[in-house]
Structures are given as structure tokens and as C-alpha cells.
């Protein structure tokens, strides 16, 4: 028996905040020896082993006759902690050196370094969160922007779980009506008429579709938006980039082909992370130095969610480049932009947005257009359930397919037991999202995705 439990008897520690960033770093320690171990290196007004749960204590960490840092220590006692075990969170100053020393001192107290996702795994094992919540934790860890954090937290609060659970319940209700007819054929129940069955299935399909539509939004919120900046040399790509970043990291120059490499910059707009790739131009070139850059540019375009296709108001629409572009990416991802409207006011170039990278004119409309391209015109309430995880998206899609099949069966006059086959499949697909049918595969996948420190 012990071999099954051994792994969770250990006390583990790791940095819980992103490495090397922020004024404060938090180190989390969890397991039966956590409080005792930290107490042995902690010097404060209160002995931690006697401290109540959910209390914070100021003190110093001393190790090997050296003061490592002034810290705040939070004590959580089982089962009321993140992991459900005794645990400690040490807030130190955000220095890499301090963190390293602190962790090293803990490791010498019979504590081992946590494996990726191990804190969350323990929380899950201790019944502190369900599967969807556990997955949302991964998203919190990976989230880069405020909106992402809000989206992930909503999920953590079980919004998606609750929504899917309610859909599953609707489905089970409809199934029950069909089953009733099969098992109680003789009794005088009023069975669900066929058009009512279809109506109920449609209702669920409609709700699933609504959820599916949030996916691009959810994904954008989680992963950010890749934006490729494409245009002929000297069309003002770097100027636009600079304007957007409001700082001049890319070299702005009049010499064609200066931007030899793909420049990547990030900025956040209304809580959405935009990742900008300035390309060297996607034309083929014989120039040995440029060749590598061209290769990378094409890649950036292929992976883009939005392509900003820049045209010079003087030179007109770059037909040849556009043709090349269309071979790399779907046309609906391309935003056609005319730049340098400060030079000329009238033009008949085909475009979606007009700007001046120099004066900033039209940039607001560009931002709006970029956002719309990325998340669609629908406005989503971030307080609603949002699908941001591919596994959830696929499961919902599968559920919808099964429901469509069930509807076909109803229409072609099949009896309840056939309709039930697809309804059960749909039910099982929804169940996968909230862990109601959990397979080892799902767990493996989830636990492999956790990053260290959570």
C-alpha cells in the first residue's frame, strides 16, 4: 500500500511566482513537514508550529549563520490550503539570488523540489478542485494579460463547469423522457412527441454553439493574437510598429531590406495580448543574407491570426505582394491598410483602414479593426462561460455532432433506443469536460501540462 501513497507523503517546495519578474517572489511549501521545516529557519515573534491556520507572520529567514531576507510567511493548515495539505507561503523580495538561497536551504530540510504541476495535482487529489478547475489553473499560470487572468479565473470559479453541467442535465432530462417510453411502454404516460424531442435537442445545440463561438475569444484571451506586419520595403512597417509600441526598438530607416530579421514585440490592448511580427518582406530574394529572413517572414505570416498589409499611398496597392500573401494565408485574415495619409488625402486604393504611422492618424480605427479580426464582431461578456481550452472545444464539438446525429435519427423516424445512442455519446462528451467521465488519458494530458510552481 505504501508505494501508492509515498509520493504524496513528501513535502515539496517551489517558486510560485514567475521567475525573475516582480518585486516580490512567493515560495510555496506543501506537505506534512512544511510548517516544521520552515519554522526551523524562521526567526520571528511567533513559532510557526504553533501558528493558527490562515495567519501571516513577519520575520527573518536565517540559514547557515546568514540572514537571507526579511519575509512574510503565511501558514495554512490542512485541509484548508490550496493543496489541502499543511502548507506555507514565503513572500520574499524579488531577487533571484534570495530565492535560490531560500529554496536551497529548504531542500536541505528533507524537502524536495516540486515536479511540474505537482501542487495542483495534490489539490486535485485532495478534492480541492474539479478537473476543469485544475485545467484552468494551467491557464492562470500561462496567462499573460489581465483579461486572460479574468477569463481563467472565471473558469476557475467553475463558470464553464456550471454551464456544461447544466447542458448535461438538460440532455439527461431529454434522454430520460425517451427511456421512459422504452421501459414503460405499457403505462399511460404522455410520451414526448417527436417535434418536442427535436426542439429540446435544438435548444442544447444552440447553447453549445454559443459556447463554441466563445472559443476564438477564449483562445485569444489565453494565447494572445499573432499579428504579422507585411508590406513592400519602405512602406512604413517599422514606423507603424514603433508607433504602436510607443518606443523605438525597430530601426526606422529609408533603406529597403534593413529589417533583415523578424522583429517580435508584444503589447496589450484592452486586455488582449498582441504579438507583432515585423517581416522583412515576403518576396523571394537571391540575396544570401536576406534569404534566412525571408524564410522566417513567411513563417510569421503563416502563423498569424491577423496580417496587417501595408500599402504606400503614393506607390498604390502592391498587387504582386498581395498575390504572394494570399498563397500563404486566408484572405479574411488580412487587413488592407493604406499608410502615409499625411502625404496625400485622396486616393482610390482598395483598403480597410487608412492611417498615418507618422502622425498617428487612424491608428485607433486600426486597433479596432485588429481586435475585431481577432475575436470577431460579437461582444462577449467576460463574466460568461468562455471556452479557452482546445480539449474543451473539441469535446463540445463532438457533443454537437452527436446531437445533430440524434436529430437526424428523430427525423428519419428511428425509435428511442437509436436516438439514445447519440444522446449518450453527447452526454459522455460533455462529461469529459467536467471530469464526469474521466480517463487516464485526460489526466495524463493535464498533469503533463502543469508548469513548475503550481
Amino acid at each position: 500500500m505504501t508505494e501508492y501513497l509515498q509520493n504524496n507523503e513528501d513535502t515539496i517546495a517551489a517558486l510560485a511566482t514567475p521567475a525573475g519578474v516582480g518585486a516580490i517572489s512567493v515560495i510555496r511549501v506543501s506537505g506534512p513537514k512544511s510548517i516544521e521545516a520552515v519554522d526551523s529557519i524562521f526567526d520571528g515573534a511567533v513559532k510557526l508550529i504553533r501558528a493558527n491556520t490562515h495567519t501571516i507572520h513577519y520575520g527573518r529567514i536565517n540559514y547557515a549563520n546568514e540572514v537571507i531576507d526579511d519575509v512574510l510567511v503565511s501558514v495554512f493548515r490542512a485541509p484548508n490550503s490550496y493543496t489541502g495539505e499543511d502548507s506555507i507561503e514565503i513572500s520574499t523580495h524579488g531577487s533571484q539570488l534570495i530565492v535560490e538561497k531560500l529554496i536551497k536551504s529548504l531542500l536541505e530540510k528533507d524537502i524536495r523540489l516540486a515536479e511540474p504541476g505537482e501542487f495542483t495535482k495534490r489539490a486535485f487529489l485532495n478534492g480541492r478542485m474539479d478537473l476543469a478547475q485544475a485545467e484552468a489553473v494551467v491557464d492562470v499560470i500561462n496567462s499573460r494579460t489581465e483579461a486572460s487572468l479574468r477569463g481563467a479565473r472565471n473558469q476557475l470559479d467553475g463558470l464553464l463547469s456550471a454551464k456544461v453541467d447544466s447542458l448535461r442535465e438538460m440532455l439527461i432530462n431529454s434522454s430520460s423522457m425517451l427511456e421512459l417510453e422504452l421501459d414503460f411502454a405499457e403505462e399511460d404516460f404522455e410520451f414526448l412527441p417527436k417535434d418536442k424531442v427535436i426542439e429540446k435537442i435544438d435548444e442544447i445545440i444552440f447553447e453549445i454553439e454559443k459556447l463554441l463561438q466563445t472559443y476564438s475569444f477564449g483562445k485569444v484571451i489565453r494565447d494572445g493574437v499573432n499579428v504579422a506586419l507585411v508590406g513592400k520595403p519602405n512602406v512604413g512597417k517599422s514606423s507603424l510598429l514603433n508607433y504602436m509600441l510607443k518606443e523605438s526598438r525597430a530601426i526606422v530607416s529609408e533603406i529597403p531590406g534593413t529589417t533583415r530579421d523578424v522583429i517580435r514585440e508584444e503589447f496589450s490592448l484592452d486586455g488582449i495580448l498582441f504579438r507583432l511580427y515585423d517581416t522583412a518582406g515576403i518576396r523571394l530574394t537571391e540575396d544570401a543574407i536576406e534569404k534566412e529572413g525571408v524564410f522566417r517572414s513567411r513563417d510569421a505570416v503563416k502563423n498569424a491570426d491577423v496580417v496587417l498589409f501595408l500599402n504606400d499611398i503614393i506607390d498604390g496597392f502592391a498587387e504582386d505582394l498581395y498575390k504572394e500573401l494570399k498563397q500563404l494565408i486566408k484572405e479574411d485574415k488580412i487587413l488592407k491598410i493604406v499608410n502615409k495619409i499625411d502625404l496625400l488625402h485622396n486616393h482610390n486604393i482598395e483598403c480597410d483602414v487608412e492611417i498615418s504611422a507618422k502622425t498617428g492618424e487612424g491608428i485607433e480605427s486600426l486597433f479596432k479593426a485588429m481586435k475585431q479580426k481577432a475575436i470577431g464582431s460579437e461582444s462577449y461578456s467576460e463574466r460568461g462561460a468562455v471556452v479557452s481550452n482546445l480539449r474543451h472545444f473539441n469535446a463540445l464539438k463532438k457533443a454537437k455532432d452527436h446531437l445533430v446525429q440524434a436529430k437526424d435519427s428523430v427525423k428519419s423516424g428511428m425509435s428511442g433506443e437509436f436516438i439514445a445512442v447519440d444522446l449518450r455519446n453527447a452526454e459522455s462528451s460533455l462529461g469529459e469536460i467536467i471530469g464526469k467521465v474521466t480517463t487516464e488519458d485526460i489526466l495524463n494530458n493535464i498533469f503533463a501540462k502543469f508548469c513548475i510552481g503550481k
Partner: protein, 625 residues
């Protein structure tokens, strides 16, 4: 005195258990309080129905006798759900109760190796946690190697009508006292369940002229594959009659609620939700103005009518008064009031999938003692217990366990072992995730192999089935290959009002159209060119199987997909020595349930009621570590 196997009770479970074990070659002593009461139908005079009909077919395919007894004593046969697909077609028969008993007794007394012991078991004797014998009310001690307890509602049976309660296992019969106490002394846990039965009316006091008649099918179908179809049906066929309650009836019944043993809390046992008493129906479905009543004759020369749908334990005078207000029953004479009966059962986590108890080797439980309800459920368990007890006695190192994908019997027993029974358990088709595969029509294909292995299905029957199987497989393959060209088949398609084809299509594909049947399609083929088609057309059973499998292929495939997903969990085995109590990370409730049931696979664990999916995830992670 000694028998290899002692079977306690001569009901539907006892009959199958004794018959199967005796045929397998062990000596069987069947202990019954009344040797004229074999297979007595304590409640309704019917066999089969949705899911229950499936059980009867499976019992028959395994070599059991219920189907034959029902065929010989049947006075009405119907197939339910005929408007739906073949998976939910279910045979149901009305039996002449007396003849049912007579036919059952004939089988018991004509089977070699069975001795009837008219007595009552008051104690089971164990040594070193193994059964060694029993003591009876008449003071006999009989030794045995195995004991099957299938005592129905007789263990400390208590019948209620109004505030009057009578000890007994069935109307006019004594309860069995002592056995429960002796089992509890060994360490078994027992509980109380409740079931009920409606009043019986006098046949010739009912005004049939104003009632709706419910006749049997025009072409009655027998349950058993061994029943001689040329002589079937054996008995004259009768009709049942329909009527219903109304507000006046309900008002009268309500007057008696203050003397209802149920509502007064005098009954401790839990009753079934699917078969509620009429007073329960009125309370729980108060918006329903009427409740359907089926009047079922109890036999050809019986003067009793069974009032199906009117199970009650209200005081006798209330029952009488209410019945007089039901259309058609104005002048009906109530021969016997309805009653509720409470009895001991042994929560079924105490048995294994072989139906052997975990506590005492050699003791098996079957039927209502496991918390089930219904003749068919009891018979199915009796058969499995009988085969397993015989295997053990014969020293054959195997267990007869049917999987959920094999049979409804497999679903039934798996549910019993894994789920906590809160009410008498009844079989439903919706409990079978493999519903499209577990059909009545293919019960033999699913189960003959087992029946034959244990000597319950004859070599001839088995051989015929094997040959049929080859014909089915070959035909299915052939029909994927043979294609109809448009000009060969469009005439038929037109006459059947279905879309014409432009390109050649295989027979298998055309068969899937609801408007077409396989026989018609095959008539269009050149039989000289395809001798296989000729053989198939001559074999009705094989033809039926091929047609069903082709027609519903897509659905069957999709059901299989879902099942495969679940079966992955079935493959994750839990070591026998696994200590569930040491799992500190799951709720105490789950822990205790897991500890009680001791599931051997994650799949089995996942079906235990009260064990949540996250508990299963945790278990999975522990098993992986």
C-alpha cells in the same frame, strides 16, 4: 443426510438454480415449505415485459427453464414495443398461475439429481468460514458443500393491510424465521425492503361490456427456442381488460391515508419507485386525474382477477369502497385485499459477481434476498448461482460471470454487486449501455457458448447455432460485395416508394433504407449464381440476424465506440489486496463504499453509487503511481 448443494426456496430462482446444478451433475436438495408451491407467482400473473422479456430469453439461451414454463402455462402472449427497433422488442405473457406452478414442479421432479425436501431452513452451519450444512425446522441436519439462499419475501416476512399486520411470506403462508438471524450471527448485514400486491377480484362480478379489451398478439411468439412451435400456444388464449381510476376513487382512498401503514411510518422497508402503490401515485402525482388499471385473469379456471396498477396496503374497507367506484368494477367482489409485504434482504455488496458471498465460502444468494424484485430477475440470478455452485462442487476452477456486454443478466449482477440498492432492483433496458446488442433475437448467439460449456445446451442445438453463425458472417461479407445496378433494382425501389439509384449500390447499403427489407432485395438476385443467398432465404433466423446487423450497423458501431471508451477503465485492474481505507484523499462515504464492494477494476469502481468521478480519478492516479 447430505447433498452437494442445498437450495433454499422453490421459487423462480430456486428452480433455475436446482435445475442447472443438477444437470451439471451435482446432487441437489431443494428445501421448500410447500412442495405444491414451486414457481408460485406471488404477485402478477405475467412473465416478461420490457427488459424482463430479455432476461427470459437469456435464461432460455443458457439452458434455463423459465421460458419453457411460461410457454406451457401462457394464456396470452404479446410482444411489446413492436413499433420500435428490435433491441427493445420484449415478449410478455400472461400465465395461468396454477399451471405455471404445475409445469415448474414437473421440471423439478423430472430432473435427475434433485430431491425435494419439504421443510424450512432455520440455520446455516459454517466451519472455518465455509458452509458445511443446515438445520431445519423439523429438526434435521443436512450437510452440504454449497448453499444457495433464494428465500424470496419469506425471511421474516410481514404483511400489512391498513393497521393490521400478519406474519407470513405470502398470502396464507408462514414466514421463514431463523435463517436471517443465523446469517447475521456469521457476520452478514441485513436490511428491510418492501413490496406490495393489489387486491384480487372475482372474475364474474366485473362488467366487461364497458371495459376496453386488450387481446394478445394474433401470432403469439413463444419465449423458448425449445418450445415446439407447431403445438404453440398450448392453451386457449384470453384477453385482459383496461379501466382507470378517477377523482372520486382518489378521494375515497385519501380517507384511508390516516390508516396507511406506509404513511404512518409502520413500514420500515423501502418500496420500489417504479411500481408504486396507488396511494403513492395519488400523493406523488397529484395532478394526474386518472391512473390506469389492468385487469388480468389469474388463470383459465381461476375465478381471480389481478388488479394490476392498484397495489395498496390501505385498510380493507377503503380498498373495497374505492374499487366500487372504478368503471366496470361497480359490483366487483373483492376476494382478497391488497397488502404490502416487508422482508429481509442482504445488501448485495456482500456478494461477488459469481453470487457467492464474500464472507462465507460456498454460500450463494439469489433473488429477492439480494434486493431485486421480479420473477425474471430472480430466475436469472438463480441460474448463475446454480452454475457457479456446481462448478465449485465439481472442482472446476472457473467462475461463470457474464459481462455487461454479454447479457442483461451480466448488467443485473454487476449492478447488484456495485450499486447500493435503495429500493427493490428491477431490470430496465436503459440500464444496459449495450442495449442495441443485447436483443432477444440474438440471445442464443450471445449465450449458447456458455450454456453448452456447462452442459445445459445440447450438442445438436449448439451445432445448429454454430452453422447459422457461419451463414450469417458469410452473408454479411457477401452483401458488402454484391452490387445492384440501377436497372436491376430501380423497379423494386420505385414500388417501395424510395429513392432510385443512379450508381450501383451494394446490398448492404440498400438494406439500411427503412422502406426496404432484405428478403425483397434478395429475391432480385440470381440465386443460381449465389447459392449462399438461397441458403440464407431458407434460414429465417439467420436472415433476421443479417438484416438487423446491416440495418442498424451505424448505430451499433457508435454504441460500440462509447463502450470501448468505458471499457478502457475496465482494463485497469485493482489489486485484490488494495486497501481502500488508506486512501486519505477521498470522502469517507466513497472510501467505505469502495471498501465494502472491493471492486476489481476501475470500471467496476466507477459504477458504485456514491463514488464520484473525481474519486475515480484519484484512484487512477494512485494506481499509476
Amino acid at each position: 443426510m447430505h447433498f452437494d448443494l442445498i437450495v433454499v426456496g422453490g421459487g423462480h430462482a430456486g428452480i433455475e438454480a436446482s435445475h442447472a446444478a443438477a444437470k451439471m451433475g451435482v446432487s441437489v436438495g431443494i428445501v421448500t415449505m410447500d412442495k405444491t408451491a414451486f414457481g408460485r407467482m406471488s404477485c402478477n400473473p405475467a412473465i416478461g415485459g420490457s427488459a424482463k422479456g430479455h432476461l427470459v430469453h437469456e435464461i432460455d439461451a443458457l439452458g434455463g427453464v423459465m421460458g419453457q414454463i411460461a410457454d406451457r402455462s401462457g394464456i396470452q402472449f404479446r410482444v411489446l414495443n413492436k413499433s420500435k427497433g428490435p433491441a427493445v422488442w420484449a415478449g410478455r405473457s400472461q400465465s395461468d398461475k396454477k399451471l405455471y406452478s404445475v409445469e415448474a414442479a414437473k421440471i423439478i421432479s423430472s430432473t435427475e439429481n434433485i430431491t425435494i425436501v419439504e421443510d424450512s431452513v432455520i440455520e446455516a452451519i459454517e466451519e472455518d468460514r465455509k458452509i458445511v450444512g443446515i438445520r431445519t425446522l423439523k429438526g434435521n441436519e443436512i450437510s452440504c458443500k454449497a448453499l444457495i439462499v433464494c428465500s424470496g419475501t419469506f425471511l421474516n416476512g410481514l404483511m400489512h393491510t391498513g393497521l393490521k399486520s400478519t406474519r407470513g411470506g405470502r398470502f396464507g403462508e408462514q414466514p421463514a424465521v431463523g435463517l436471517t438471524e443465523s446469517l447475521i450471527k456469521m457476520g452478514f448485514e441485513s436490511g428491510r425492503l418492501k413490496t406490495g400486491t393489489p387486491p384480487r377480484l372475482k372474475l364474474d362480478t366485473i362488467n366487461y361490456d364497458i371495459l376496453e379489451e386488450q387481446p394478445g398478439d394474433e401470432n403469439p411468439q413463444p419465449f423458448s427456442r425449445r418450445t415446439d412451435k407447431t403445438k404453440f400456444p398450448f392453451l386457449p388464449q384470453i384477453s385482459c381488460w383496461l379501466t382507470k381510476t378517477d377523482g372520486t376513487v382518489h378521494q375515497i382512498l385519501e380517507k384511508g391515508f390516516d390508516r396507511s401503514p406506509m404513511f404512518r411510518g409502520l413500514i420500515n422497508g423501502v418500496g420500489p419507485r417504479y411500481c408504486p402503490s396507488i396511494e403513492d401515485k395519488i400523493v406523488r402525482f397529484s395532478d394526474k386525474p386518472n391512473h390506469q388499471i389492468f385487469l388480468e385473469p389469474e388463470g383459465l379456471d381461476s375465478d381471480l382477477i389481478y388488479v394490476n396498477g392498484f397495489s395498496t396496503s390501505l385498510p380493507e374497507e377503503i380498498q373495497r369502497e374505492a374499487i366500487a367506484k372504478i368503471p366496470g368494477l361497480e359490483n366487483a367482489e373483492m376476494v382478497r385485499p391488497g397488502y404490502a409485504i416487508e422482508y429481509d434482504y442482504f445488501p448485495s455488496y456482500q456478494i461477488d459477481l459469481s453470487l457467492e458471498t464474500k464472507l462465507i465460502k460456498g454460500i450463494y444468494f439469489a433473488g429477492q434476498i439480494n434486493g431485486t424484485s421480479g420473477y425474471e430477475e430472480a430466475a436469472g440470478q438463480g441460474l448463475v448461482a446454480g452454475i457457479n455452485a456446481a462448478l465449485k462442487i465439481l472442482g472446476r476452477k472457473e467462475e461463470f460471470v457474464l459481462k455487461r456486454s454479454d447479457a442483461y443478466i451480466g448488467v443485473l449482477i454487476d449492478d447488484l454487486v456495485g450499486k447500493t440498492i435503495n429500493e427493490p432492483y428491477r431490470m430496465f433496458t436503459s440500464l444496459a449501455e449495450h442495449r442495441l446488442l443485447l436483443r432477444q433475437d440474438n440471445a442464443d448467439r450471445r449465450l449458447y457458448e456458455f450454456g453448452h460449456r456447462y452442459g445445459l445446451i445440447s450438442d445438436d442445438e449448439f451445432k445448429e447455432m454454430k452453422e447459422r453463425e457461419v451463414l450469417i458472417t458469410k452473408s454479411k461479407d457477401l452483401f458488402e460485395e454484391i452490387k445492384f445496378k440501377p436497372d436491376e433494382i430501380n423497379n423494386l425501389l420505385e414500388s417501395k416508394a424510395t429513392n432510385l439509384i443512379d450508381n450501383a449500390e451494394p446490398v448492404s447499403k440498400l438494406t439500411k433504407r427503412p422502406e426496404l427489407n432484405l428478403r425483397d432485395l434478395l429475391q432480385e438476385l440470381d440465386h443460381e449464381k449465389y447459392p449462399l443467398v438461397k441458403s440464407l432465404l431458407a434460414n429465417e433466423k439467420a436472415l433476421e440476424q443479417v438484416e438487423i446487423e446491416l440495418k442498424y450497423e451505424g448505430y451499433i458501431q457508435r454504441q460500440q465506440d462509447l463502450i470501448k471508451k468505458m471499457e478502457k477503465l475496465e482494463e485497469v485492474k485493482i489489486p485484490e489486496s488494495f486497501n481502500f481505507l488508506k486512501l486519505k484523499t477521498i470522502s469517507n462515504e466513497s472510501k467505505e463504499k469502495l471498501h465494502k464492494v472491493r471492486p476489481r477494476s476501475i470500471g467496476q469502481a466507477s459504477r458504485i453509487s456514491g463514488v464520484s468521478p473525481s474519486d475515480i480519478s484519484i484512484l487512477l492516479v494512485y494506481l499509476k503511481n
